[in-house]
C-alpha cells in the first residue's frame, strides 16, 4: 500500500508532544483516509423521572418538578453511548521493544489506543481503559464524556512496560464488569507463553456473550523477520535469563516460524469470531487504522 502524504511515521509522531495532540493528528489523517465512518453516534435524550434516592447526584434533581409537586425527582437520560468499549493495552515487558530506530511497541500501542479513543468518544461511545503487564488492571471505567478522553490519554501516558502477565485474566474480568454487547479492543504483541491458548479462550468467551472483540497485533520488523537483527545473544525481555545465541538474519526458519505462530493464533481467534488485525510499528498509525477500517467495510 502506498503511504499517503497525510500519514505521519511513528518516529515523527513521537516528536509531536502529548498523546492528545498525537491522537488528534492521527484522527485527522484517519478521517481523511476512510470512505465513511463505521462508528455510530447517539444523542443525549431525556428518558424519565424517578424518585430521588439517597446517594443520587443532586445535579440531576428536577427543581421545577419539586416546586410543583413538593417531591424530589431525579431526571434520567438515555445512555450517551449506545456502545461500551474497552481498550485493553498490553504493557508487558515485551512491549518495551523498539527495534532499530523506531518507537517501542507500547508507544505505538498507545498511539493506536489514543486515536481509537478519540474516534469512539467523538462518536458518543463510552470508552474504558485496561492494561496488563505486571498485573491486570482496569484503569478507567467506560465513559463517553469529552473530559474522559483527557483521563484516558493521561493513563496511557503513565503506562510503563514490565511484567509477564497475560491478557486472559483481564479479558475475563472485563466479561464480568462490562455490559453485554460491548466492544473490546486488545492492543498487544500477542506473545503468550502458552502459545495463546488462554488468550484465545478468554477472547472466545467474550465473543460468545455478544461482545465485539478485536485483537490489534503490534509487531516490529525485527520481530516479524522483515528486518531481522544480526548475530547476537538474544533474550526475551519477559524471560531475560533465557539467552539464545543466534543469527536471526541468517536464520532462514526464523520469519516462517514467527509467521506460523501468528497465523495459528489468528486462525484460532477467527474461529471464535475475534477479529485479528496485524499491525507493524514501521507503518504510520493512521495508515494502519485506515487500512483496517476499509478492510472491515469490505
Amino acid at each position: 500500500m502506498t503511504v499517503r502524504s497525510d500519514f505521519l511515521p511513528p518516529g515523527l509522531l513521537e516528536h509531536l508532544g502529548g498523546l492528545e495532540l498525537v491522537a488528534r493528528t492521527v484522527v485527522r489523517g484517519f478521517q481523511a483516509g476512510i470512505h465513511r465512518s463505521p462508528l455510530r453516534g447517539a444523542g443525549e435524550d431525556f428518558a424519565k423521572h424517578r424518585d430521588y434516592q439517597q446517594g443520587d447526584d443532586v445535579r440531576y434533581l428536577d427543581w421545577k418538578l419539586y416546586a410543583r409537586t413538593d417531591r424530589l425527582y431525579v431526571r434520567e437520560f438515555e445512555e450517551r453511548s449506545n456502545l461500551q468499549a474497552y481498550l485493553v493495552v498490553d504493557a508487558s515487558a515485551s512491549m518495551d521493544y523498539a527495534g532499530a530506530g523506531g518507537v517501542s511497541k507500547l508507544r505505538y500501542a498507545s498511539y493506536l489506543a489514543a486515536a481509537l479513543a478519540h474516534l469512539m468518544i467523538g462518536a458518543g461511545d463510552a470508552v474504558g481503559l485496561a492494561a496488563f503487564g505486571a498485573e491486570p488492571r482496569l484503569l478507567l471505567a467506560p465513559k463517553a464524556r469529552k473530559g474522559h478522553l483527557h483521563d484516558l490519554m493521561l493513563n496511557l501516558e503513565r503506562l510503563r512496560p514490565g511484567g509477564t502477565a497475560g491478557a486472559a485474566d483481564l479479558l475475563d474480568r472485563l466479561g464480568t464488569s462490562m455490559r453485554r454487547g460491548g466492544r473490546v479492543i486488545l492492543v498487544s504483541d500477542l506473545l503468550e507463553d502458552d502459545g495463546g491458548e488462554a488468550l484465545v479462550a478468554a477472547a472466545g468467551r467474550l465473543s460468545a456473550r455478544g461482545d465485539e472483540v478485536i485483537a490489534l497485533r503490534v509487531l516490529t520488523p525485527e520481530e516479524s523477520g522483515d528486518a531481522a537483527p544480526d548475530a547476537g545473544l538474544f533474550f526475551d525481555p519477559e524471560h531475560p535469563r533465557r539467552e539464545v545465541p543466534a543469527t536471526p538474519r541468517g536464520d532462514a526458519g526464523y520469519a516462517p516460524r514467527v509467521a506460523a505462530y501468528y497465523a495459528s493464533l489468528a486462525d484460532r481467534l477467527r474461529e471464535r469470531a475475534v477479529e485479528y488485525v496485524p499491525v507493524s510499528t514501521a507503518e504510520p498509525v493512521e495508515q494502519a487504522l485506515v487500512a483496517w477500517i476499509n478492510r472491515r467495510r469490505g
Binding site: 520481530e223 547476537g232 545473544l233 538474544f234 526475551d236 539464545v244 545465541p245 543466534a246 543469527t247 505462530y261
Partner: protein, 476 residues
Amino acid sequence: MLTFGSPAFLLAGALAALVPLALHLIRRRPPSRAPLPTARFLSPDPRTSVRVGRPTDLLLLALRMLLLVLAAAAFARPVWRPAARGSATVVLLDRGAAMAGGDAWPHAVAAARQRLLALRGDALGSLVLFDSAATVIPPSRVTPALFDSLAAARPTAGSSRFAAALRAIPAAVGGLREADSLRVALVTRPRWHGWSDGLGPLRHAVWPGAIELVELPDLDAGDGEIVAENVKAKEAIYFADALDRLSYAKPALEATGWRVRLAIPSADAVLDSARLMVVRRAVPAGVAAALTRAATAGATVVVTAPAAASLRGFIPWAGAMRVDSGGGGMWLASGPHVSGTAMRVSGDAARGAAVIASWDDGRPAAAARRLGRGCVVFAATDLDRGEMTLDAEYPRLLDGLAHGCEPSDGPSSIDRDTPLDAGARAVLRGTGPRVVAARTVPGWGGGVPLGRWAMAAALLAALAETFFAYGRRRAV
C-alpha cells in the same frame, strides 16, 4: 627519500603494532546481548556463542596501530631528503694575490669550472672564493656566466688565507641538501703566506675526508727566478767577531731552516745571494753601503746592539743608545719570549720603523724598517750572549727577527712566499676518503627532520582513539 637516524625503532614499532592486531584477532568475547521478544522462535547458533571482534573495531584497531607506528617513527628520527643527485663538490678557489702570476688564475677558474659544471651547464656544487675572507656561492648561482666573469676578472690584492676557506666549508655544504655524498677541492698555489696557526685542527674539524688539492702550474719563467731567489734566501751570513769563536746564534738559526755561514764583516763578505745577514760586531766603513745595497735588493739585515754605533744611520733606531747591563726578558711581537738577555741599548724605534719586540717593561727592544725590497732590523741587545742563548725560544726569536718586516702570524721558520712543503700539504689534504657520505659531514643541512611531526601525528591518533573509544562505549 625518507631516511631514519635510528631505524631499529621502526622494527620495534612494527612489532608493537602487531600487539593490538593480535589482541583484536585473538580476543574472543560473548556476543552483544540484545532483547528480542520473539527470541523463542530463533534456532540457536553455537557459532555465535563467541564472537571475534573485528567488524566494529576496525577503526579503533587502525588508530591504535597507527599510534604505535607513528610513535616508533618519531623515535626513529625520520628525515625527509630530496631525491639525491649523487655527489656534489665544494670548490675552494683561491683568488688572492698569489694567483696573479702567470696563467695561474685562468687555470684556477678552469679547474673550478671543470669540477662544478656538468656538460649541460648544471651546477654540481658550491663555489667558495677566498683570499683573506671567503664568499660562498650557492649552486643556484654557479653558472657558466659566473665562471666567464671570474675568468675575465683578476685576482684580488689580498693574501690567501686557507683558514678562511676552510671555515667556509660548513656553510658551503649546508646548501647541498640534494647530495648524498660530498667532496671538497682546493684550487690554489699553496704558499706559506696562506698558512696560520691552528690550521691543522681547523682542517680536521671542518671536513672529515680528504681535500683534493688542485695545484696549479707554478709560476712562469720570471716567477721562477723569484722562487730561485727565495730558495737562495734560506742562506744567511753571520758577521761574527771571529770565525773560530763559539756562536750560539748560528746553530739556532740553522735549527729554524737557515743555512748559516760565518763571516768577518767586510764589503766583500756581503753577498747579494744571502737572504739574511746578521751583524753582531761593529763593521768597518763601506760595509754599511754594501748592507744597504743588499737590503734594497731584498735581503734582511739584522743588526745587534754591539754593531749599532758603526751602523748608526743604517739601523731603524733613534736615541742616545746608552748601554745598560742586564736586559731582562724580551718579547717578540710574533710570540716568542726569551729571558736572560745580557744587555740592552736604550732608545726607541726610528721614524717609519715598527717596534717588533719589547722588553718586559714595555720599552722597545727591536725595530724593523723596510728598505727597498728588503728589511733592516735592529735588536737592542747582543743576540749571541747571555742566558737567552739557552732559552728554548731563542731560535724562534732569531727567526722572528729575521722576518721582522713580515706579518707576525704563520710559521716563522719558513719564508712565507715559498710553496708549502709536503707536510703542510698533507695537513691540508687530510686523510680519509675523498668522497664523503653527506650525512657524516658536520653542518650538512640535508633533509627535513620529521620526528616532531610524527610525534604530533601520534598524539592526534591518540586523541582520535580516545574519542572513538569513548563514543563506542557510550553507544554500547
